[in-house]
């Protein structure tokens, strides 16, 4: 059995634990033994991008410790993959953390050897981290028995498959809007993975016009500049409105930050549109429930337990 460690991210943990639960179920259905290191909190990106590198490094060190294999005695065993539920956080770990931890250690007066050790530990984590949709896309594993699309069990569902379970007999796949966050797009270069995962889930992903444009979330920027940030969200929402006119049923993203930005802005305007984390969309597809009604219900509920009322 494949082992993997789940990094849910602080935002999913606090605001949308359902996405984490969905990820656990998606992974377990694919034969993964999921571990959840309880020492994890935050990758520190928010503080890092705000210029607070000391605080970011403190969080980063904790993250490194949390995911380090406890059984250091058996170094021969490959440490498990760390699956992250955010492209942005994955990018932070992969692109910034080794430098950050080394530099911070030096600034705190540690020896160069200690600083170099922190770099290596961060690099070891960075090597193991993969964002969820990239992991799903990379797996040549068959879709689990009887889940997902109506394609016959066994091989992976063909892309653009014949539709979701709830629409038996329908040959038109459900259209969903897909938003790829900036760090996922530009730092991880993962532009295709979420689209391909959604296709395998039996839906037709649609990228918005100006897809590469930032939604305005931007970490500390979004808090310091609420008006500019909201104007950027409005531009994105205008493109979403066009897609809604073309019949997309929900907005899916692998980054909760973008979803909270767009959903929160839409809500402030008194409008509503279902938004799902990619893990939730795949979970619904697995259970033959990627239907407008179930999407709506899932998008409304944030509670961890999908069966909780």
């Amino acid at each position: 059995m494949v082992r993997a460690q789940l990094f849910v991210t602080c935002m999913v943990d606090l605001f949308r634990p359902r996405a984490g639960v969905a990820a656990v179920q998606v992974l377990e259905r694919r034969g993964v033994e999921v571990e959840f290191p309880g020492g994890q909190s935050c990758c520190g990106q928010f503080a890092y991008n705000a210029g607070h590198h000391r605080e970011a490094a403190a969080m980063g060190r904790q993250l490194v410790r949390a995911f380090e294999p406890s059984d250091a005695a058996s170094p021969s065993a490959d440490p498990p993959t760390v699956i992250a539920l955010s492209g942005s956080c994955a990018a932070m770990i992969k692109h910034e953390m080794p430098d950050l931890l080394e530099r911070d250690a030096l600034q705190r007066g540690r020896t160069p050897a200690t600083a170099a050790r922190w770099r290596r530990r961060a690099e070891a984590l960075a090597d193991r981290v993969v964002e969820l949709s990239e992991w799903l896309d990379r797996q040549a594993v068959p879709e689990p028995e009887g889940v997902g699309t109506r394609a016959e069990s066994g091989g992976p569902a063909s892309s653009g498959g014949p539709g979701y379970a709830g629409a038996s007999g329908s040959s038109t796949p459900l259209k969903v809007a897909s938003h790829t966050g900036c760090h996922m797009r530009r730092l991880l270069g993962a532009t295709e993975a979420p689209l391909s995962v959604l296709r395998r889930a039996g839906v037709e992903p649609v990228e918005l016009d100006d897809a590469e444009q930032c939604c305005g979330f931007g970490g500390s920027f979004g808090l310091l500049e609420p008006d500019i940030s909201a104007a950027m969200a409005d531009a994105k929402l205008a493109n979403l409105a066009t897609a809604r006119g073309d019949g997309v049923t929900c907005l899916v993203s692998a980054d909760l930050g973008c979803l909270m930005q767009l959903g929160g802005r839409l809500d402030r305007q008194g409008d509503a549109f279902p938004m799902l984390h990619l893990a939730e969309a795949v979970d619904l597809a697995d259970r033959h429930r990627l239907t407008p009604a179930d999407i709506e219900r899932t998008a409304r509920s944030q509670e961890a337990d999908p069966d909780a009322r």
Partner: protein, 482 residues
Amino acid sequence: MPGELPPAGATWPERRRRALADPAMRAAVAKSTRSLAVKKEAVFATYPAAEAMRKRAVIARRGSLARVDALLDELTRRVEARGGHVVRAAGPADVGRYVLDVARRRGVQRVVKSKSMATEEIALNEQLENAGLHVRETDLGEYIIQLAGERPAHILVPASHKTRQQVRALFDEEAAACAVDPPVGDATPELTAFARRQLRADFLAADMGISGGNFLVAETGTLVLITNEGNGRMTTSLPRVHIAVVGIDKIVATWADLADLLQQPALSGTGQRLSTYTTFITGPRREGELDGPEEFHLVLLDNGRHELLGTEFVDILACIRCGACLNVCPVFRTIGGQAYGSMYSGPIGVVLTPLLGGLERAPELPKSACALCYACADACPMEIDLPRHILALRRTEVERGMEPWSDRLTFELWGRFWANPAGFRFTGRIARLGQRVYVRDGRLKGAPGLVGGWTATRNAPPLARESFHEWWARRRASRTGS
């Protein structure tokens, strides 16, 4: 020596407010930036040689910057050997003094200028006008901006935030002031015809032409000037005296380097393969020549550039002022260039303004005018790592204690709690209790401190009743229990 930039004018909140409250400007900026970005992509897609040249150009540029001082010496010798004058200027006052000195010596009354960011940077027009000279900007966009009494809103297309109606109003006013016929309409050819007529008169009457420079070729002492309108040619061909004010960063070693660089401003700026007019100027007119300036002066402007050599910011000096980073920047597209309070706007402005003018002059730019989307890093033809520089400037602000104490405290406490698992879970529980005051209709509509910035324009779901950590613990307990 540190540099000096003109003051920002209004405060950041005021500039931001004006920008967001100007839908016509925002629509114009959104349109022009998109159009330029699309053209850039198209030319790189259809002209394969462009990318190979670009890669070589990056190497050429970095290589030249690595030996700026030696190249400047070589350049100086070459220009002087051709009868030109070269002077090094530390900052705005040096340039103003030198230009006014030449103007007095040569009895100059009227000056024409071709578009130059370097002279914007040192507010040269103001210095000359204060001394009684008549100064005319001759790039169409700069002319519009000069009439409007504004600063360029975009490195490449300075008046791209203006509508044609606004341009016509400015021209009408100018026509009345000069007692000439106003433009006959607001169609582009009609507006252009008015500007052509007015500017032609200025060119023919000018005693001195002031240009910037896109590149300087050390091995022959050659100034390279790139324009689309031809005003650069006019400025450097017609008046008796030509003064070029050029940043020391524009130097390249050889013509071979230049061959790779020459098309880059056009490719990344406007999506052209080459700008309409490219002029190589080597000294004043030669003996026997009947046109061209009698005197050629090259003012090499430092203004804080030299200080960047050898720092982590050195690659910013490779900038070719193409504007590609502006055109893809979501913040620039949203607020336009005027809001930056600097002639350098967009991502390059966010970095260059504090580096040249001091972080104290523009502390808001790194943290407030960037969403860290990394689009600029992808767009920059010279591969300048703008996001990394923005992160470094934000860090410097924190290290210098330039943010409100409450923000500082928030981050310190946050870092302390979240750097350990118990603290993280504890803050989650506390926040769940605390949020009750702010929850209305099942949503967070307010929040204290920094987070209040979020709820100023957006709602948020309340924190979940059960965090993922708690769910996992419960699930494990129920599994081991059963």
